[in-house]
């Protein structure tokens, strides 16, 4: 069963950032988390080094599809943190745990605009 209300549209660049976020998380996990890499190797027969190469290429391709201003901000924040997009749950930024009163989960239009948290600088994705 689907939620009855129609899904609000999302900013296309936010879609790319979310995809990038998931890919970067997988990359980090394979690179730094020995237990995860071991599971991928032993249960799923994946070569972690090959996987990292493939993921790296996919990440680069997506990064290149960001618009110039978004890319500039992305380049500024991505080297220093694991997450470039952070969820906002019940009005709280999960990057820095500061409340963002303007981005509330009740606002259906909120992910149509690409927003950043003023406190920590991350792009935000409001979980509705």
């Amino acid at each position: 069963m689907k939620p009855s209300s129609p899904t609000p549209p999302m900013h296309p660049q936010l879609m790319i950032l979310l995809e990038l976020q998931d890919l970067r998380a997988k990359y980090r996990e394979l690179e730094r988390d020995e237990a995860s890499a071991a599971v991928e190797r032993e249960v799923f027969n994946v070569d972690p080094d090959e996987a990292l190469t493939g993921l790296g290429e996919a990440i680069e391709k997506l990064e290149n599809s960001l618009s110039a201003p978004v890319r500039a901000r992305y380049d500024r924040i991505s080297p220093n943190r694991d997450r470039v997009v952070v969820p906002v749950l019940r009005g709280v930024c999960y990057g820095c745990f500061v409340s963002i009163p303007t981005a509330t989960a009740g606002d259906q239009e909120v992910n149509q605009v690409l927003q950043g948290c003023e406190s920590c600088g991350s792009f935000i994705y409001v979980v509705t």
Binding site: T7, A25, E40, R83
Partner: protein
């Protein structure tokens, strides 16, 4: 942490309709009842993972898995395709049983890997694939997990 507690009858589908890998992934994702955008993102992320190598681990079992921002907590779903589907599994055999795992990017409890391990262990138990083919309701699936202490 018990697998039994992470499934509900709603997240168990005993007859997957689709035949292709993509459509099967979408059908599994639908069981989680996310909004359309989240479904689309999750599909892409799962596809990316499949591109690294099939999550079909052999013996008719696949465990598509990923971490994604679109879930707040670890979510599981089970789908069955009685006549099997081509999923590029490690042993080249058709896949009948699909266990979907989606975890948030960061979790305090770090359940993801233990859950993945438990499912792999449960599903690889020699008589489980056959038993899974015999169950006739989502509740019977949950009971089977319970019986195995999984």
């Amino acid at each position: 942490m018990k697998l039994r507690d992470l499934f509900t009858p709603d997240t168990v589908k005993l007859e997957i309709d689709s035949d292709s890998k993509d459509e099967i992934l979408k059908e599994l994702i639908e069981l989680l009842e996310l909004d359309d955008k989240s479904e689309a993102i999750l599909f892409k992320t799962l596809k990316r993972r499949e591109n690294l190598g099939s999550t079909g681990i052999g013996k008719g079992i696949a465990i598509p898995h990923c971490r994604s921002l679109v879930v707040e907590e670890t979510r599981l779903a089970y789908g069955r395709k009685s006549n099997g589907a081509e999923f590029q599994a490690i042993d080249g055999e058709p896949v009948h049983h699909f266990f979907l795992i989606v975890a948030p990017p960061l979790e305090v409890s770090n359940q993801y890997l233990p859950i993945l391990g438990k499912i792999a262990q449960f599903a690889k138990d020699p008589d489980i694939p056959e038993k899974l083919l015999q169950i006739d309701s989502p509740d019977a699936f949950l009971t089977l997990l319970e019986e195995r202490g999984a």
